[in-house]
């Protein structure tokens, strides 16, 4: 049966309702507290090490994001680890809880299409994450102003804005995945467990497995090992395998955008460096160009996973 009218009718209603639910929920509060406190600890470490190191740096604000002080990882690394948790927390029970509470058929009895319901839930969760990330971003800039006393330049603001956008799409990938699993599994606990399993696998195990797999696919040439060098073929395979994980894509994109001296993300041959002026920052546009493939991966991953979930949801029986 064909649909009549716009598929997005009722989208705003669902969006506002879901957003209000998220923002007032205890779960969201706990997730936010977790992220804010760990991020604050990382920031405190970064600020204290920056204040001891008074070397001149044209991108002092960006150093706040990337500098780490043992035992804490840097702000960006912590976000790379915790953003998936937040996205999974908001998305793992999006659809199956409606099933279990028997409210899905009631909602769909209203003049609201399934498209609008799914899209509204997705956008509301993404907006919630976006709001907390924006608040965190403002917190970083504010703390930088208070403790470092250096006003951020236009390029620093632009680069950290790119950070914000990429982080939101990174969250989008995990949110799409969590919602997909909430459509597939009727039990929220199963969906949560599976998505957390995937998250742990990609964040913790995959960085260890990828080099081993690369060694198996392209064994290192012993001649390179004799010279104490890495086999470029193995290095390229390792990197390609690592890039299957959104965590790695986010990390690489952040490296390119937040460390302006990064010139490439792949392996570098020595003759590419001959005559290169080291240590000079890249123009903003060039850094964005380097981070662009990773960003594309995150954006396309978000859309494809969402589309997959959408197809499954459309084909699902909701009245049971």
């Amino acid at each position: 049966m064909r649909r009549e009218g716009s598929p997005f009718r009722g989208l705003s209603t669902v969006f506002v309702k879901e957003l209000a639910d998220h923002l007032s929920s205890i779960r969201m509060l706990m997730l936010e507290l977790l992220i804010v406190f760990t991020a604050l600890a990382a920031l405190y470490g970064a600020i204290s090490s920056l204040r001891q190191n008074t070397a001149e740096d044209p991108f002092l604000l960006l150093r706040l994001f990337t500098i780490d002080k043992a035992p804490l990882p840097s702000f960006v690394a912590i976000l790379g680890f915790l953003i998936p948790l937040m996205a999974i927390g908001l998305g793992f029970d999006a659809i199956n809880s409606e099933h279990n509470r028997r409210t899905l058929s009631r909602i769909l009895a209203q003049p609201i299409y399934r498209d609008a319901l799914l899209m509204g839930k997705f956008l509301a969760a993404l907006a919630t994450i976006g709001i907390s990330l924006a608040a965190l971003w403002l917190l970083v800039i504010g703390l930088g102003l208070i403790f470092l006393g250096v006003p951020p330049g236009g390029e620093e603001i632009a680069r950290s804005m790119v950070f914000l956008v990429v982080a939101i799409f990174y969250a989008g990938v995990w949110l799409s995945l969590a919602m997909l699993l909430s459509i597939v599994f009727r039990s929220p606990a199963t969906a949560a467990l599976v998505s957390l399993g995937i998250w742990l696998f990609l964040a913790v195990l995959w960085p260890m497995l990828a080099p081993a797999l690369a060694q198996a696919i392209a064994p290192a040439d012993p001649r390179y090992a004799l010279l104490g060098l890495n086999d470029p073929a193995t290095a390229i395979w390792t990197q390609e395998l690592l890039r299957l994980s959104p965590n790695d894509l986010f990390g690489e994109a952040m490296l390119a955008v937040l460390s302006p001296t990064t010139r490439t993300l792949g392996p570098v041959f020595l003759d590419q460096l001959r005559g290169a002026v080291m240590g000079s920052p890249l123009p903003f546009g060039e850094s964005v160009m380097i981070a662009w493939p990773q960003t594309v991966g995150l954006i396309a991953g978000t859309i494809v996973l969402f589309a997959f979930g959408y197809v499954l949801f459309q084909r699902q029986e909701v009245r049971a």
Binding site: R3, Q272, G275, V277, G285, M289, A300
Partner: protein
């Protein structure tokens, strides 16, 4: 004639000086004598001359002697000085003497007639007088001379011109000679010791001796080719000498290289040829011929020039060539350094250019295409699976 006798006696006394003290008592001389070493002198009109006198008393009781000068021509000024100030009388002790000086101010004029001035010392009953013959001469023998063995040197505006000057003191006294050089404006001149680096403005020279000094002239580097005179003047008291030196400066081309508007940076895309305008300027003083251009760039890069040579560049003009730079398609995004040189017969200039390599936007478009495909997939799903 008595005074003359006394002068002879004084001369004899000087010759016999080792035995003078013993001999003095033996001579039976008594009286008052006014003496000078040189009773006939030559002076130049327009100058002041001092003549040393001595009032000698042999065995007379001390008394006051009135001093005067007679026979002073009109216009001249004759002053008797004692102890540095004008005096009118003197009082020598028995067997003692008083040193006096006769200062003559001779006015400038053409009258070269000789004059005789008489200096008198009059006491009670005793009188001494001394005629001094003064003849006038326009030119006196040189007291100071300066010579240069190589008075004319040739070189480029960048070279140093070193002249060795020898200064000879022909006057009878030890002198301190000071020197000055008169060179065209903006030329730097300095005097140094012949074998030393210390700069000098004057040098003491013993009577009859000569000393070598070195004059170093540095022309401004922007000077045009030409012939430039330098005049060196040496002065010591009332004597002076001068000599003429010359610099022959030949022109030289001087190249400078930069981008248009002085820019030393350019943009290029990896694997693609981009042209950078290069400006070669001749800021020297002679035309530069046949300037060839070459470039050193990172490995895998191609650098050519269009045109590859500049035939002739006259001073003060600039020529523009296009450097066609193709970064290797494997070069990373960011800054690379390339050196571009212009060479013209020994004169060369080089400039370091910073070339910012950008990645091709093709991949950016491809990424946007991937997102577009994902969106189309989504729209297709919405269209295909959309239901009530």
């Amino acid at each position: 004639m008595r005074a003359l006798d006394a002068a002879r006696l004084a001369f004899a006394l000087v010759l016999l000086s080792p035995a003078a003290h013993a001999a003095e008592a033996a001579h039976d001389i008594k009286g008052l004598y006014l003496m000078t070493d040189y009773p006939a002198v030559t002076v130049r009109p327009g100058t002041t001359t001092n003549i040393s006198l001595r009032l000698q008393n042999y065995g007379l009781a001390p008394q006051r002697y009135q001093l005067s000068v007679a026979g002073v021509p009109s216009g001249w000024t004759a002053t008797l000085l004692g102890g540095g100030q004008p005096v009118g009388a003197a009082m020598p002790a028995p067997d003692g003497s008083v040193a006096l000086q006769l200062r003559l101010d001779v006015p400038a004029g053409n009258d070269l007639a000789p004059h005789t001035l008489t200096v008198k010392a009059e006491g009670q009953g005793t009188t001494a007088e001394l005629p001094v013959a003064v003849s006038l001469a326009k030119e006196l023998p040189a007291k100071l001379s300066v010579k240069s063995s190589l008075p004319s040197l040739r070189g480029s505006p960048k070279s140093n011109f070193d002249y060795t000057l020898s200064i000879k003191n022909d006057s009878g006294r030890n002198l301190v000679a000071s020197f000055a050089a008169e060179a065209p404006v903006n030329f730097e001149t300095s005097f140094t010791e012949a074998y030393g680096t210390q700069e000098l403005s004057s040098i003491p020279i013993d009577a009859g001796q000569s000393k070598d000094i070195k004059l170093k002239v540095r022309p401004p580097t922007t000077i045009d080719a030409g012939h430039f005179p330098v005049k060196v003047t040496v002065k010591a008291e009332d004597a002076s000498a001068s000599t003429e030196l010359a610099l022959d400066i030949v022109g030289q081309p001087q190249l400078q290289i930069s981008g248009r508007d002085g820019l030393l940076s350019a943009r290029a895309v990896a694997g693609k040829q981009s042209s950078i305008p290069i400006v070669v300027t001749n800021s020297g003083t002679a035309p530069a011929e046949n300037i060839t251009l070459a470039g050193t760039a990172p490995s895998g890069w191609k650098v050519t020039f269009e045109p590859a040579t500049i035939e002739r560049l006259v001073p003060g003009k600039d020529g523009e060539v296009q450097a066609l730079i193709t970064p290797s398609d494997k070069s990373l995004a960011g800054d690379y350094q390339a050196t571009i040189r212009a060479t013209s017969r020994g004169e060369n200039a080089s400039g370091q250019f910073r070339i910012t390599v950008g990645t091709s936007t093709v991949w950016g478009m491809a990424g946007a295409g991937v997102i577009g495909v994902a969106l189309l997939l989504m729209l297709g799903a919405v269209a295909r699976f959309g239901r009530r």
